[in-house]
């Protein structure tokens, strides 16, 4: 990498990191796993004057259930998700997603926090978090605040995280029994961003009625997107083939993909439809286990 010149600090505490962010203002950029930022610096699309490397700050890479939430420290790596027994046994949607993120080398470094904080609709975790109605914990020198995932993404590379703040945790409500979830994306080759990706979490009651539906879409909208009408169409319904088809149809209709080398708008809408149907089926299958 031959980036533009920059200064660099690797603080050992959050307090020091906040102070550095305060001091350098808009010149500063947080370096977590680096797998979004460093490629941009390499291509000189980004030339931050000051990097605050938060890899030395301890206590930010946990994955645990606590107080009704699955709590994921912002510095947990994709590889940590891959290797977590808790995730594998109870949250297969994360395993679905993490194995589709880039390649093992990237997953050894890339963090869940960074994947979300980058604010890129092409990243995979945002859709998963939307489907699971996550909350994002944002910290600063003034303290902590919690932002629902629906209020987190502002625009292209823009999120609720302010210049003096650091995303420190993601909280996901522990789903009740009868819940299943799944994620898949179509990619042109391993490591590619999604042509289209769909995350689904469904809860069904004992009589087979849908009591929760969360559907998040990857890379088919300027920001990570919830397929709200699809969710509404399923809530309170029996999970029939017709209901599922309708939810899929609505997701395809509501997304806003743009043409690129992966495919045109028509193709991507169709893929959102196919994947929504397939992921609902897969989530239901998992819910029944």
């Amino acid at each position: 990498m031959i980036p533009a010149p920059f200064d660099y600090a690797a603080p050992n505490t959050l307090a020091e990191a906040f102070a550095l962010l305060e001091q350098h203002g808009d010149d500063a950029k947080i370096l977590a796993g680096g797998h979004s930022l460093i490629p941009m610096m390499k291509l000189r699309f980004a030339s931050p004057a000051f990097l605050v490397d938060i890899n030395n700050i301890p206590g930010l890479s946990y994955i645990r259930e606590e107080d009704g939430y699955l709590r994921i420290g912002a510095m947990a790596r994709e590889a940590d998700l891959d290797h977590s027994e808790l995730i594998r046994s109870r949250y297969p949607i994360f395993t679905d997603a993490s194995k589709l993120i880039a390649d093992p080398q990237v997953r050894n470094m890339g963090t869940i926090g960074g994947n979300i904080a980058h604010g890129d609709a092409a990243n995979d975790h945002p859709a998963v978090m939307l489907a699971m109605r996550a909350e994002v914990v944002i910290s600063s020198a003034e303290g902590q605040r919690t932002v629902p995932i629906d209020e987190f993404f502002y625009g292209f590379y823009m999120t609720a995280v302010q210049q003096n703040e650091i995303l420190t945790e993601i909280r996901i409500p522990i789903p009740p029994a009868g819940t299943g979830n799944a994620y898949h994306k179509l990619e042109r080759k391993v490591g590619d961003y999604a042509t289209a990706g769909v995350a689904v979490q469904i809860t069904v009651d004992g009589k087979g009625f849908c009591t929760y539906a969360g559907i998040g879409l990857t890379n088919v909208n300027p920001t990570p997107m919830r397929a709200a009408r699809s969710e509404e169409a399923l809530l309170g319904q029996k999970m029939t083939e017709e209901a599922i088809a309708e939810a899929a149809r609505l997701a395809a209709e509501d997304c806003n993909p743009s043409d690129d080398l992966r495919g045109d708008e028509e193709y991507k809408r169709a893929m959102v439809g196919v994947l929504t149907r397939r992921m609902i089926h897969k989530a239901l299958e998992r819910a029944r286990r």
Partner: protein, 789 residues
């Protein structure tokens, strides 16, 4: 089954000797150009054009020169003072080193920044301000010859269109007559897309000019070090750099695939700067520069036609090519072959008439095209013949395997004269296809396909039975810039029986250090592990034309065998002297001469070599060395039978290559493990253009996929389980019966995959899809046919 004549200890031909070079490569101890650090070395980075076609109004280096460490910004005007602003291409066209007034393609070199370190050089590059006046470029080659199209090469006096050359071969009249009278004529338009070799190591050099001794050492990623030395002397002789003052060193190379044959402007600028300042100058491209500016491969638009009878006899073929060469013809073909060896495109089939013609045009795209793991346009030819053969089978409703079997050139008809003038040396096409069909379970697969079709599932089986043409080549026809395409070997055996062998070729991953040693071991009985192979240094290696187009084994490998045989003749004389018998009384077995009928009376090769230095017969020249320059009497014609099975997801268009069986015939095999490795790599590089790779430009000439984010190089994940095998039909004219294998799989795989995908959709009326065949493309077809929603 491969039979070995030598013991495992000697490790001659047929043994899967482990690659000698791997010990250093897998331990990170390879030594590449970028590992070279010389005292006082300067670094160069290159300012590149954002436009495909523009006038340069001004180049302002003021801000760049303010950056600490930036020493100079070199422009075309600077080089013009020394008449170094233009250079010849290998095809006797011309190419700018740096422009003085106009840029002709996006990413073209515009100026060079020289600095004391790599970072300052890049910062300097960002700070150079170039003012352009963009012009409307010519991007679509089909429009390049339109009357109103801007004439791009205004540097050529009198040039009034964008036409480069016309080429044709075959009997036009006879072919046209057959086409006019044939029962069946099929025709398809095919684009063999512009792709890039994308080797792991990009291109680069360290130019080290010593002012005191007037001597240039050029460390460089080149597949052809000697040819480069001669080219440098031709380009820079007028400033005093004559050939004896130039040493080209090609260190370890991380993949060449044809992309490291041409001379790129960066090399010339680095030499010019080093020459002027007397310090070493390093230039190493980054990945995007490599992908965007270095020579592309392919980019042939082909109209392919086949004429035949209703019952399936092929009668004639006709191919018409539009070749998009970009801004200059920078192909790396032998001089007399502007379309390379495309004329192999009559394929593996026995018919009497063919006509092929090509027109090459200039466009505002990077120059090329190189022979990407392909013996000069053979990939394009094989795609055309193998696709149109399938198209013909489909038209008459005959199984494509059956059709091929009925039309193959028969084993007993070799040497076989092709309608375009080649003499195929040997082949057994029936055996190859039969073996492939047996391994894949062809009949069962066809049944399964029929059942799946009933259920609305999409499955396809594709065949490619190709004939390759490699080992360029016989000096009567083959030269590059006038230099005949022989190749060379020099063997020196030391008194203790160990040897060093040097070659004019240059390995880029092929494993020459191992296979050449095995050839010598086979001939001399000296264990392969005792033979050190050296290439790539023009001061020590004998002259040769380098490694590309699967030519190393056919040429330098043959030279090694012949040189070793010269030594064996000498060894016989010494053994006769030592054993006090006549030469005729001696018999050879690998590693020793013994007296006929008295095997205990023997001298090992090691004893003989020692005697060559300590006790040689009176009147005989001392020492044990031989050199041979091998001029092949003919090319070699490897072949293969590939069968691919695909399943297609009818909702998403995703294609899964379920099976891929590759039966290669490369004649006698030197090292089965290395051949298998080469085939695996080659098949993956055949999968690439079939399903993933293409350099894509918009109408303004902007490259749309200039990084690995969007230029999709397949990985192990995308690669199916390659099932490989062999038939062995030795080349009758090659000293060791070998034919060359490196590029066969790259050439043969794309049509097998394309044929399989088209086959999966053939019941919908699909007869052709241009590669790369992506899920999006397939889905569009399925949508149009009412299969996908």
């Amino acid at each position: 089954m491969i039979r070995c004549k030598t013991s495992k200890e000697i490790g001659g031909m047929g043994h899967s000797v482990k690659r000698k070079e791997d010990a250093r490569f897998i331990q990170g101890k390879g030594h590449y150009v970028d590992d070279i650090h010389l005292p006082g070395m300067l670094h160069m980075d290159i300012v590149r054009s954002p436009y495909a076609y523009a006038k340069i109004k001004s180049i302002n280096a003021e801000e760049a020169l303010k950056i600490p460490g930036v020493l100079a910004v070199v422009t075309g005007k600077d080089l013009e003072k020394y008449n170094l602003h233009w250079m010849p291409t290998l095809m006797s066209d011309t190419q700018m080193v740096l422009p003085t007034d106009t840029v002709m393609y996006q990413a073209q070199e515009v100026a060079a920044v020289i600095a004391t370190d790599r970072y300052a050089a890049r910062d300097g590059k960002e700070a150079v301000i170039v003012e352009y006046e963009p012009m409307k470029p010519v991007i679509d080659p089909h429009k390049s010859l339109d009357p109103g199209a801007p004439v791009l090469r205004t540097d050529k006096p009198g040039k009034n269109d964008n036409h480069i050359w016309h080429w044709e071969v075959g009997d036009k009249t006879a072919t046209e007559k057959i086409f006019a009278e044939a029962d069946v004529v099929v025709k398809e338009q095919m684009h063999i897309p512009r792709i890039h070799v994308a080797s792991i190591e990009t291109c680069g050099c360290v130019a080290d000019y010593d002012k005191v001794n007037n001597h240039l050492t050029m460390y460089m990623t080149t597949q052809a070090p000697h040819a480069i030395r001669t080219v440098i002397a031709l380009v820079a002789g007028h400033v005093g750099l004559t050939e004896e003052k130039i040493r080209v060193v090609s260190p370890d190379i991380g993949g060449g695939f044809g992309g490291k044959v041409p001379v790129y402007p960066g090399y010339v600028i680095a030499i010019a700067v080093s020459f002027l300042v007397g310090k070493p100058v390093k230039w190493v491209e980054d990945r995007s520069e490599n992908l965007q500016a270095d020579s592309f491969a392919r980019d042939y638009h082909i109209t392919a036609e086949m004429a035949g009878t209703k019952d399936g006899k092929i009668l004639a073929t006709r191919f018409k090519i539009l070749a998009d060469h970009g801004y200059t013809d920078a192909s790396a073909n032998p001089s007399k072959f502007p379309t390379g060896l495309f004329s192999i495109g009559t394929g593996s089939y026995d018919y009497g008439a063919a006509f092929m013609e090509a027109d090459a045009v200039y466009t505002n795209k990077p120059p090329g095209g190189v022979a990407y793991r392909c013996s000069f346009r053979v990939t394009e030819a094989v795609h055309a013949i193998e696709r149109i053969t399938d198209r013909f089978a489909f038209e008459i409703g005959k199984d494509p395997a059956q059709l091929r079997m009925e039309n193959f050139i028969k084993k007993e008809d070799f040497p076989w004269k092709s309608p375009t003038g080649w003499t195929y040396d040997s082949g057994d096409y029936h055996a190859g296809l039969l073996k492939a069909m047996e391994v894949v379970g062809y009949e069962e697969l066809r049944k399964e396909q029929a059942e799946k079709r009933e259920r609305g599932e999409l499955m396809g089986i594709g065949i490619s039975t190709f004939t390759e043409i490699v080992g360029a080549g016989p000096s009567r026809d083959f030269d590059i810039l006038g230099i005949k395409m022989f190749d060379s070997a020099e063997i020196r055996v030391h008194p203790t029986g160990k040897a060093i062998a040097r070659f004019g070729t240059k390995s880029q991953g092929q494993g020459h250090e191992t296979t050449y040693a095995q050839i010598i071991a086979e001939e001399l009985g000296i264990p392969a592990e005792h033979i050190q192979v050296e290439e790539g240094d023009t001061d020590t290696a004998p002259y040769g034309l380098g490694t590309y187009a699967s030519r190393s084994t056919p040429t330098a490998g043959a030279a090694a065998a012949v040189a070793a045989r010269k030594l064996r003749d000498k060894a016989r004389k010494i053994a006769a002297y030592l054993l006090e018998v006549s030469e005729e009384d001696l018999e050879w077995e690998p590693g020793k001469f013994f007296v006929k009928g008295a095997p205990e009376k023997a001298k090992t090769i090691q004893e003989i070599v020692f005697a060559a230095y300590t006790n040689h017969p009176l009147g005989m020249e001392a020492g044990f060395e031989a050199t041979h320059y091998y001029d092949p009497p003919n090319l070699t014609f490897p072949s293969g039978a590939y069968i691919c099975v695909v399943d297609i997801d009818k909702e998403t268009g995703e294609i899964k290559v379920r099976r891929f069986v590759a039966i290669d015939d490369c004649g006698n095999i030197i090292n089965p493990m290395i051949v298998q490795g080469q085939v695996h790599g080659g098949l993956t590089q055949g999968l690439a253009p079939a399903m993933y790779e293409q350099l894509i430009y918009d109408e303004d000439g902007n490259i749309l996929n200039g990084t690995f984010m969007d230029y999709l190089v397949p990985t192990a994940v995308e690669s199916p389980n390659w099932e490989t095998g062999h038939t062995v039909t030795p080349s009758p004219h090659h000293p060791i019966g070998a034919k060359g294998v490196g590029e066969s799989p790259t050439v043969g795989a794309p049509p097998a995959i394309a044929n399989a995908i088209v086959d999966a959709l053939s019941h919908l009326g699909v007869t052709h899809i241009d590669i790369p065949i992506t899920p999006f493309k397939v889905w569009k077809i399925l949508k149009e046919k009412g299969v996908a929603q």
